[in-house]
């Protein structure tokens, strides 16, 4: 795994991507800092952190776009997959390399915080919380990007899809406010989820039995929930969307609140995406 990490790190800085990522991130964050804090004489650092969240959308796809798609295009995946290392080591190696570059870049922005600390009142714990939140958020975004780069052989397509996926996650907060909350809509939503799950199983196993069983279990679960705990269906859709909203969770960190629940959420979100990535690569060998 360390071999993979070192190679990826080296590649970031032997190709323009590492520089473009760092440059883009630092230029835009510097821009926000100069306008938002220096020129307006504000020492509100957490609002700065809030505003640079959006740079993620642009920058993370750059970081992850070539990780696995390029291996496939160059056929170097044949080297990796026929070497005595596991797929998990490959994927984790790539994840930690991207995460490393991201962290280093993030650490550089601490300089801004120091400037605010010297010349103004820095809300220290909110800033620390914000940085911790950023670290976890970054990991989650990178895991999304890695999954996308597994699907596409084309770097540009991979960057675009990652961008849209992250944008969608970003918009979940807004979408949440317009979705219906009544129990009927929730039931339909749950049914669609069950159908989707059954379809997923069918596509993966090509077995009507397995997907049928999944569908039936899902249907029974919906009915049972209706009888036992109908309150679940009040506002189910926004609740589910909320659960997926990475940004909603970030707000707590920005306020200096470290909740185990939020950290566990980010860690499991990241782990889930990396796990699916590993499974996808392993599954491809069978098809």
């Amino acid at each position: 795994m360390f071999a993979i990490i070192t190679r990826e790190l080296r590649t970031y800085f032997q190709t323009p991507i590492g520089y473009v990522f760092m440059g883009l991130f630092l230029v835009i964050s510097g821009f926000f800092f100069t306008i938002g804090n220096l020129f307006s004489g504000s020492s509100n650092y957490s609002s700065f952190l809030q505003s640079i969240l959006f740079i993620y959308l642009l920058a993370v796809p750059l970081l992850t776009m070539r990780l696995l798609s390029e291996e496939r295009r160059q056929r170097t995946d044949q080297l990796l997959l026929t070497s005595p290392i596991t797929v998990a080591q490959i994927v984790l190696g790539k994840f930690f390399a991207a995460f490393g570059v991201f962290l280093v870049t993030l650490v550089v922005t601490i300089a801004y915080a120091v400037v605010v600390g010297i010349f103004g009142d820095l809300a220290v714990w909110q800033t620390v919380g914000g940085y911790i939140g950023f670290t976890f958020l970054g990991a989650a975004f990178i895991s999304v990007g890695i999954l996308v780069s597994t699907v596409s052989e084309n770097q540009v397509a991979s960057a675009f899809f990652t961008f849209f996926a992250l944008l969608l996650i970003w918009f979940l907060n807004l979408i949440k406010t317009i979705v219906p909350t009544d129990p009927v809509a929730s039931t339909v939503f749950a049914a669609v989820l069950v159908l989707g799950l059954a379809a997923f199983f069918f596509l993966n196993t090509r077995s009507w039995i397995v997907s049928g069983v999944v569908g039936v279990i899902g249907a029974i679960a919906i009915v049972v929930l209706h009888l036992v705990q109908p309150s679940v269906f009040d506002g189910l859709i926004p609740n589910v969307l909320d659960w997926f909203s990475l940004l909603e969770r970030f707000q707590g960190f920005g306020l200096g609140l470290l909740k185990v629940e939020d950290i566990a959420f980010y860690v499991s979100f990241t782990a889930a995406f990396l796990f699916v990535t590993i499974r996808l690569i392993e599954k491809r060998r069978w098809s």
Binding site: R7, T11, T76, Q78, L79, L81, S83, P84, T86
Partner: protein, 314 residues
Amino acid sequence: MIEVTNLTKRYGKHLAVDSVNFSVSKGEVVGFLGPNGAGKSTTMNILTGYLSATEGDVFVDGVNILEEPEAVKSRIGYLPETPPIYPEMTVREYLRFVCRIKHVPKTEMKDRIESGLHTVGIVEVYNRLIGNLSKGYRQRVGLAQALMGNPEILILDEPTSGLDPKQIIEIRELIRKLGADRTVVLSSHILPEVSEICRRVMIINNGRIVADGDPTTIGGDLFDASQIVVTALGDEQTVRSILSAIPGVTNIQPQPTAEQATEVLVESEKNADLRKAIFEAFSSRKVPLIGLRVKNATLEEIFLELTSGVREAE
């Protein structure tokens, strides 16, 4: 050493490899021969654990590659059809990386790389970016990669494709050298190459092994007549009349020739050597015989016979 049982690979509805069985013993140099798309690369990708078979198993020394992938993979060196190289790395960085993912101990790494560089002859490009190397050098870097783990088994997919004639000769020489103390499986669609390097050839077509054996005897069973090419200074009529008088001759076919002579292909019963009879017949009629040779089926003919036959059968 390698045991393949009932190997089948399906891509959707397309059957790429169709219940293939074979085994390769230690120290053998085996060539897969077949037209493009015959299933050679797919078979190799399964042998190395890059792909999984739809059905069937691959055992290396009795160990199933699916059950202990790491143990099996560390014993195999693989050069895929496209050398798996990173253009942005130098040869040195690349080989160091390969050593690390193949778990070469740090203390041995330097020697391993050094000897690999010399074996494949890329010492002079050691510090250059792979992306700037010529195709021949890239292929050799790929080959060096396959050697890094010091594998007992080498699997080489079209190792000479895209090289110029001089490089092809060098690579063949190299493979012969490597085959001295390793098990080698290579593929090619170039026939003389396989017969030159390998002591055993498997001809693959449409995902099936249609012939398996020594390249010099593999055609023996295929052609039911023995053939002799006769060249004589005389017109076709005379030559025909002399030959048809010889007992055992079943067919006479005139052949085009550049010489001022008549050349015919004489077919006879299998295992009947008519050379002496032909010589005596010509000498008694005082017709100068200037050429007389047994025609062996070349690998090309065997190949065409086998691959076209199978196609017709389907």
